[in-house]
Structure formats: structure tokens, C-alpha cells
């Protein structure tokens, strides 16, 4: 046994540890949020949460580590624009395209297809004119297609 293992924490180290911990936990003050992230915060984060983990138990789908999968199957690219939260948001076509691209890259870059092309404002503007009324059946069908892609 090393006698150092029995050495109790000396008071100065305890004080430094407390102050350092407080500084780290307190976060960055005055940090300006990027405009695209601010749009996500104001239009999406209330339900999908700050890290995109959502709340699947209450019907809020998780974006984190998953949402990019939709781009691998036919209809998935359109689906992400036609869901009510996107199509009926207060964002302009251009800003909605920016937010969708940001969400895909931030929360699901590992799932993005290699040939991913970002959404554009005209594409988003065209798709959001036909918002989904019945979302669940479309989602179920897309997930079924995804299973086929995952296990051919």
C-alpha cells in the first residue's frame, strides 16, 4: 500500500477544486448563439430538446443519431420537409432549408448518405406546400423501407 493513497485532500486543493468546478459548470456567459441554431431553439428545441434526443415516450421522435437515415430511402427526403413541425413552421423557405441542413449535420452526420446534397430554398418551398396530414402511417412505411435497406 502506498502511503500517498491515505493522504487526505488538503484544504487549498479542495478550494481550487470547488472554484474550478463552479467555473466549468456555470457555462459560457454572453455566448452569442448562431442564427441557425437560434432558429432551431425557437422553432424545434421545445420538443426535440437541445441535443435532439426528443421524447419518444410522448411521441416526439429522436433526431440524434437517426434523422439522417431518412435520406437513404425513397420519400424520406420529402418527409422531413412535409412533417407539420417543418412545413407549418414560421420559418422562411430559405431559413427552413438552413435549419434542416444544420439538424442533419449536427445530430446525424454519421447516418448521412455519402452523396447527401443539402436542401435548397426552392426545394423546401415546393415540398412544404403539401404538408402531411396523417404523419404516422408515412413514418411507419419509411421505417419499414429503412429496415429493408439495413438488411437486404
Amino acid at each position: 500500500m502506498s502511503s500517498n493513497l491515505c493522504l487526505p485532500l488538503r484544504p487549498p486543493f479542495a478550494v481550487v477544486a470547488v472554484l474550478l468546478g463552479g467555473w466549468i459548470l456555470h457555462g459560457e456567459a454572453h455566448a452569442a448563439t448562431s442564427s441557425v441554431q437560434a432558429a432551431y431553439m425557437l422553432g424545434c428545441q421545445g420538443c426535440h430538446l437541445e441535443d435532439g434526443r426528443g421524447f419518444p415516450q410522448r411521441g416526439v421522435p429522436a433526431l440524434d443519431g437517426f434523422v439522417g437515415n431518412f435520406l437513404k430511402v425513397p420519400g424520406g427526403r420529402e418527409y422531413l420537409v412535409r412533417v407539420p413541425g417543418a412545413a407549418q413552421s414560421e420559418l422562411s423557405d430559405e431559413r427552413l432549408a438552413d435549419v434542416l441542413n444544420w439538424m442533419l449535420r449536427t445530430f446525424s452526420s454519421a447516418q448521412l448518405p455519402a452523396d447527401f446534397t443539402p436542401y435548397t430554398a426552392p426545394e423546401v418551398g415546393r415540398l412544404r406546400k403539401s404538408p402531411l396530414v396523417e404523419v404516422a402511417p408515412v413514418r411507419v412505411e419509411l421505417l419499414r423501407r429503412l429496415e429493408t435497406v439495413a438488411s437486404p
Binding site: P8, A14, A32, S35, E50, F55
Partner: protein, 175 residues
């Protein structure tokens, strides 16, 4: 075989204990141990939002967080948690923060910047009833639920109903 192993362990423990007793006094141990206990206790008192650990600090702030006209409450509709045993950014004991919530902006008169505010509800105890505050800036009708403050967000959280009080947490700066 087992007896031999136990004897070895016994000798080793005795030797280590005697060596430690020669090097460290009981008073030094007690003082260090006491400092550690106080240090660990102090960490839990630091001003952080424990529900989601995403709270930020606004620049300079003026006013009383427990007053309805405090700048962060510009779109709130509920009881101020600071009057209910919590603070403007932390839930009272015995309640759980609703992760699902609505988010808006308020201008801080102290620096003129627009901050992004998360109006999380605290849930799990009956209605607080103190410091009711309804300001509704930017509030939309319930058919636009993303920005409606008439919803009981506790109903959509892991905490479930009942509603107790509301927070106004700074989570970003909108520029």
C-alpha cells in the same frame, strides 16, 4: 494454505497501518477529511440548472426575479418558481422539470440584447399559487402550440401532471 495466505495479509495490513500512523497525524487527517466533506457539499450549491444543465448566464441583469415585471418573464403564464421554493432557473424541491417546453425571446433592458428563454414548467406537486404572472408577449393561440403559453407542459413531460410553477431559463442569445 488459507491460513498462510491470511497470515501474509495480516502482516501486510499491520505493516501498512503502522507506516501510515508514523507518517500522518490524526489531526491532519481530520482537517483534510473535513475540508473534503465541505468541498463536496459546496459543489452541490453552485448556481446551475440541474434539470437539463443547459442554462446560460445573461450579461448584467437588473430587477427582482420574483417580480412579474422582471425582464425574463416577458412571455410567461404561470406561478414564478422563485416564490415557490425554487429560483428563476431551478425547480423547487419535490418537483421535476418538464423537458418538453416552449421557448421564446426577451430583451434584457440592461444590455439591449435579445435572450432566448426556455419556459420550463416544474411538475409533480399541486399548484404553487404564489406570484402569479401572465405577460404573454409573443404568445400565440393554441392552434400554434409551439409558441402558446396556455398549454400545461407538465402533461407532455416525464414528470406528468400536476403543474406547480414555471421557470424562465436563459439558454442563448438571439442576434
Amino acid at each position: 494454505m488459507i491460513q498462510k495466505w491470511l497470515d501474509t495479509l495480516d502482516r501486510w495490513a499491520e505493516k501498512a497501518t503502522r507506516k501510515d500512523a508514523r507518517v500522518h497525524s490524526r489531526r491532519a487527517f481530520l482537517s483534510g477529511f473535513g475540508a473534503s466533506v465541505i468541498g463536496v457539499g459546496a459543489v452541490t450549491l453552485l448556481p446551475v440548472f440541474r434539470g437539463g444543465a443547459f442554462a446560460q448566464q445573461a450579461g448584467s441583469e437588473e430587477g427582482d426575479p420574483n417580480s412579474c415585471d422582471y425582464w425574463r418573464h416577458c412571455a410567461i403564464d404561470g406561478y414564478l418558481c422563485g416564490c415557490c421554493g425554487g429560483t428563476v432557473s431551478s425547480c423547487p424541491p419535490g418537483t421535476v422539470v418538464s423537458d418538453i417546453t416552449w421557448i421564446g425571446t426577451c430583451r434584457n433592458p440592461a444590455d439591449g440584447r435579445d435572450y432566448i428563454i426556455s419556459y420550463n414548467d416544474c411538475c409533480g406537486k399541486s399548484t404553487c399559487g404564489r406570484c402569479v404572472c401572465q405577460r404573454d408577449q409573443g404568445d400565440t393561440p393554441i392552434y400554434r402550440p409551439q409558441t402558446s403559453n396556455d398549454l400545461n407542459w407538465c402533461a407532455g413531460s416525464q414528470a406528468d401532471v400536476p403543474y406547480h410553477c414555471s421557470l424562465s431559463v436563459v439558454i442563448g442569445v438571439n442576434e
